[in-house]
Amino acid sequence: MREFFHRKIERTAIGFVLAIIAAASVGGIVEIAPLFTIQETVEHAPNMRLYTPLELAGRNIYVREGCYACHSQMVRTLRDEVERYGQYSLAVESKYDHPMLWGSKRTGPDLARIGGKYSDYWHVAHLHNPREVTPESNMPAYRFLSRTPLETATLQSDLNAMRSIGVPYTQEMIDHAVKDAEAQATPDSENAANLLKRYGEKTQVSAFDGVTTQLTEMDALVAYLQVLGRLVELPAKQAASQPSERAP
């Protein structure tokens, strides 16, 4: 019976194509569509803040250099990972991530909670020459980041594009994108206060690469690394309880 049916469909090219599309569509539809409709998929976090323009620029450098090929940003619900890296990652933490950078390989350690663990100075020294900080490291050196001025001309279009896909940047944020980026790397400036007003008091303003006269790609990347894991204030009770599965 089945063979008879198959003998028939393999006589028509169009019919065969339609059968392929039908068979292949089910899995994706069943697994992807509900992720947008089931409310619990992404936790509720009213106090979550947005990436500042400088952090977003840093994130784009992280993408450009392919850092995700060796560093994950996803702490799994396993005891050893929670003890090594910190609380396991929640979906809401990457709510504003286009694209997500969860990664698939850890040639280096996970970075989901790297923000605030090391000083800016450590990051700059490490990116300059990882082997000076960790002699056994096999990470590439990123000296050129300090030499390269940050391209700020596109920041407004960056924020604008993000807003068009649902990230709630306000018009005010978009208008001040360039100033905000400069302000974040210039402590005690007048604009820095405005930046904090727009993105929250906890936004880190710092001379990231140690030089305030020029905004470099190093400033942006370090600003991004320092905000990883700190966009959301995780409720204390979640951090205390440990429903993490033990590794077998």
Binding site: R2, E3, E10, R11, A13, F16, I20, I21, A23, A24, S25, V26, G27, G28, V30, E31, I32, L35, T41, N60, V63, E65, G66, A69, C70, S72, E81, E83, R84, S89, A91, E93, S94, K95, Y96, H98, P99, M100, W102, G103, S104, K105, R106, G108, E136, S137, N138, P140, A141, Y142, T154, S157, A161, M162, S164, I165, G166, V167, E245, A247
Partner: protein, 549 residues
């Protein structure tokens, strides 16, 4: 090559090239100092090189009126050459990028040459450059023979092949300049993605029109797989690459998918690129060239049906096994695991069907390195699909994920299955295509076989060891209940294996270089009379070659 086209077709080919080059010129002008402009220049150069070829043959005599009665193999021939060129490039980049893990200074302090930028040049070079060109070339060959009809269109097959290579070129040059979406195996930016959609739709139309004209009542199994490959890759590519560019004069874009949904879409794409690009397409090759070379019919028609629909249906559910223990909801992880395990049934049905086809031809497997390539490919296919189902089980995945075990698994499939079946198919196809009794040097085919096997085994064993060791070290506790090893401790343990994998990869690269030389020499040798009547049915109905079924 050009002599196969009429004067009108030569003119329209030039017109098309000028159109594409003008688009490139526009990009170069509006792109300013963005890599977008550099890509515009690359497009112009690419069109100029092809236009030079067309013009050099422009005054050649026009083709015979009865060209419809012969197969159209020029695009396949060029496709084979491009495929091998990409193989050497992609594998060289692979060896280099592997060496950087052991000796990080091999990046020479450049931005373009750092690990993160050249790693995708390796993956794109081998998957899309080598694999994709081989698939286009062989699918054009197979669909004509199994349908007993000439390929539909004169320029469109060229457009598919060369347009696809332009996509690969934009992708790889983009990575060097830092143009990437960061989506693994879908790194090229929006304009390259749009271009690929145009090329791919043309590919679909060429393939479907050829099938529609077939002089065989049934569509042969190999074509089911090629069709699934073309159709589903189109769906995957379009959905995963939906993005908003920051402007139409710049390369940067943002994917429309946020966070957790992006992760699911990305691995739905990523895993099914494995399924429909690296499995279905190459199974299409297997179903034609293996029975052809072994001169045995496919063992079971029913098994073919079972495995085809099993693969088409089950694979699409399996992607979420890349996201075990992550922030992706549990129910999706469990579905992914379940279907990954079930996937073993159609996978082993395919492998078993292929091995049983060899029953009665095992003496040929022993004597003929070409057939042995395909046999070994099937064995690696069986092993790596088993390993894949195993690694998709949650507790196993908790150990293997994020480690080199995954890398080893991928290469067991990529080197052991995809590359070996491709080499076996090309060594079958090349002599037939250029009408030679055999390859230029059977001894070099033999040497290539053993280099490929040795390289694959060294690579895979190194990665099994490093992956399992690192996974275990990450979760080792001291008696006091604290973590026993720092991350750096586990990295130090990896170095010997990183060196071993570089050696394995270098052996595999050497084999590919030897293979390229052998194919080149076979094609270049002076013409010898054909051994078979390699023409469509209409010309010689009595002797037409009927594919094994």
């Amino acid at each position: 090559m050009i002599a196969q086209l009429t004067l009108n077709e030569r003119t329209s080919a030039l017109g098309l090239l000028i159109l594409v080059a003008l688009t490139g010129a526009l990009m170069a002008v509006i792109g300013g100092d963005d890599p977008f402009a550099a890509h515009g220049v690359i497009i112009i150069l690419f069109c100029a090189v092809i236009a030079a070829f067309v013009i050099s043959g422009f005054d050649a005599p026009e083709p015979r009126i009865d060209r419809q009665d012969s197969y159209y193999d020029d695009p396949t021939k060029v496709g084979i050459g491009l495929s091998m060129a990409w193989a050497v490039f992609g594998m060289f980049m692979g060896v280099w990028v592997a060496a950087q893990l052991a000796w990080p200074d091999l990046a020479f302090d450049g931005a373009w040459s750092s690990f993160g930028r050249i790693r995708p040049t390796h993956t794109t070079g081998v998957i899309f450059g080598f694999g994709g060109n081989a698939l286009i070339a062989t699918s054009f060959h197979v669909v004509q023979r199994t349908s007993r009809v000439r390929l539909a269109g004169q320029i469109s097959p060229w457009f598919v092949l060369l347009g696809y290579n332009l996509f690969c070129l934009l992708a790889v040059t983009g990575y060097f300049m830092g143009v990437t979406q960061s989506k693994e195996y879908a790194e090229p930016e929006w304009y390259a993605d749009l271009w690929l959609v145009v090329v791919w739709v043309t590919y679909f139309v060429v393939f479907l029109r050829t099938l529609a004209r077939r002089r065989e009542p049934h569509i042969y199994v190999a074509n089911w797989y090629f069709m699934a490959f073309i159709v589903v890759v189109a769906i995957l590519h379009i959905v995963n690459n939906l993005a908003v560019p920051i402007s139409f004069t710049q390369s940067k874009s943002y994917t429309i998918w946020p966070g957790v949904q992006d992760a699911m879409v990305q691995w739905w794409y990523g895993h099914n690129a494995v399924a429909f690009f690296l499995t279905a397409g190459f199974l299409g090759m297997l179903y034609y060239y293996l029975p052809k070379r072994a001169e045995r019919p496919i063992f079971s028609y029913r098994l073919s049906i079972l495995s085809f629909w099993g693969i088409t249906f089950f694979y699409m559910w399996a992607g979420s096994h890349h996201l075990h223990y992550t922030a992706l909801p549990h129910w999706v992880q469990n579905l992914g695991m379940t279907f990954s395990v079930m996937l073993l049934v159609p996978s082993w049905a395919s492998a078993g069907n292929a091995l049983l086809t060899l029953n009665g031809a095992w003496d040929k497997v022993r004597d003929d390195a070409t057939l042995r390539f395909m046999m070994a490919a099937v064995v690696f296919y069986g092993l790596s699909t088993f390993e894949g189902s195993f690694m998709a089980i949650r507790p196993v995945n908790s150990l293997s994920h994020y480690t080199d075990w995954t890398v080893g698994h991928v290469h067991a499939g990529a080197l052991g299955w995809v590359a070996l079946i491709t080499f076996g198919s090309l060594y079958t196809l090349v002599p037939a295509l250029w009408k030679r009794p055999q390859m230029y040097s059977p001894a070099l085919v033999e040497a290539h076989f053993w280099l490929a096997i040795a390289g694959t085994l060294i690579y895979v064993f190194a990665m099994w060891n490093s992956g399992i060791i690192q996974g275990l070290m990450w979760r080792t506790y001291t008696e006091e209940g604290s973590l026993a090893y720092s991350f750096v401790d586990t990295l130090v343990a990896m170095y010997p294996y990183y060196i071993a994998r570089t050696v394995g990869g270098a052996l595999f690269l050497l084999g590919a270089i030897i293979g390229s030389y052998n194919i080149w020499m076979t094609a270049k040798r002076p013409f010898m009379p054909a051994a078979t009547d390699d023409v469509p049915q209409a010309l010689s109905p009595a002797h037409a070659r009927v594919p094994a079924e």
